[in-house]
Symmetry: C2
Subunit: 173 residues, 2 copies
């Protein structure tokens, strides 16, 4: 399970992150999201994505969110060796592109927790705090504690994905 | 395009292959084939496969056959880093396992043509002669010439995949 919370932020927050956690790397992530031919992923709360960044290409499936306060969900991810062939295979199998999400992400690490400072094209800055864990309650406690240290109010946690926010605020049609 | 012809063979044929072409390698290929939730691949003549061999894991999509005499079809293939996660993603997306096909394959090379001597679990020995090319007619001519040199009658070319042969001769239910 990927236990994850997200907050709207501005550039000033990054100073606080830097004081708390270790900088890991910066990268530009270019994601393409797909919808399924058998069920509308917007309704089933699933996601299928091809991500391309400096390190390569990944295909990720995300299951429905399992928790009311966080973005926690099953995530299955495989690394693949070719972006355009991966796109072609999904297209041939009937998956259709919903839209592209591009962000500049700076990644920080604090123990087993990852803090991302994201600058998302069209949406602005966000902070994501996440850890992989099957102990949902203890992981939730941990990520919310860090959120509070960064000055966030847990009740402002955003459960919508960047894709959902873009669909809501910047409809394509 | 993958221009490919196949013939039923016996062990004696491998001596002739050895005289004609260079041995490349031997491997055991374990394939799992999937059916689609939106159309029956047996009717649409498509295929989706996860292959595991000594070199790693591949996902392959095969389009419908495009030629009456050969197995020629579009093939799109990506290498992935994790077998069981690849299986999980396809399962979550609604693809269901049809069956497993296991064979010991010895690969020979003759210029840009690949000759495979296959020993397929449940079916016995076959020879596949294939080359990648977008010039279908010239590639067909080339692979059939090699088939004749090996002693095969072109009219005995088998267009069915190992999966189809297994489904026909060794039904699972």
């Amino acid at each position: 399970m990927e236990v994850e919370i997200k907050f709207k932020a501005d550039r000033s927050i990054e100073d606080r992150i830097r004081k708390l956690a270790d900088f890991v790397c910066e990268k530009v992530e270019e994601d393409v999201y797909f919808n399924s031919p058998i069920r509308d992923f917007r309704e089933s709360d699933e996601a299928l994505r091809i991500r391309r960044d400096d390190e390569g290409v990944m295909i990720t499936y995300k299951g429905p969110k399992v928790d009311a306060e966080t973005k926690t969900r099953e995530e299955i991810e495989i690394r693949v060796d070719d972006y355009s062939k991966a796109m072609d295979i999904l297209n041939r199998l009937g998956f259709r592109t919903i839209r592209r999400v591009v962000k500049r992400r700076r990644i920080y690490r604090l123990g087993d927790v990852t803090i991302c400072f994201d600058d998302v094209e069209g949406l602005g800055q966000f902070v994501e705090i996440e850890m992989k864990s099957d102990d949902l309650e203890s992981a939730k406690h941990k990520v919310f504690e860090i959120a509070k240290k960064l000055g966030f109010d847990p009740s402002n946690s955003i459960r919508e994905s960047y894709l959902e926010l873009l669909e809501r605020y910047i409809p394509q049609r």
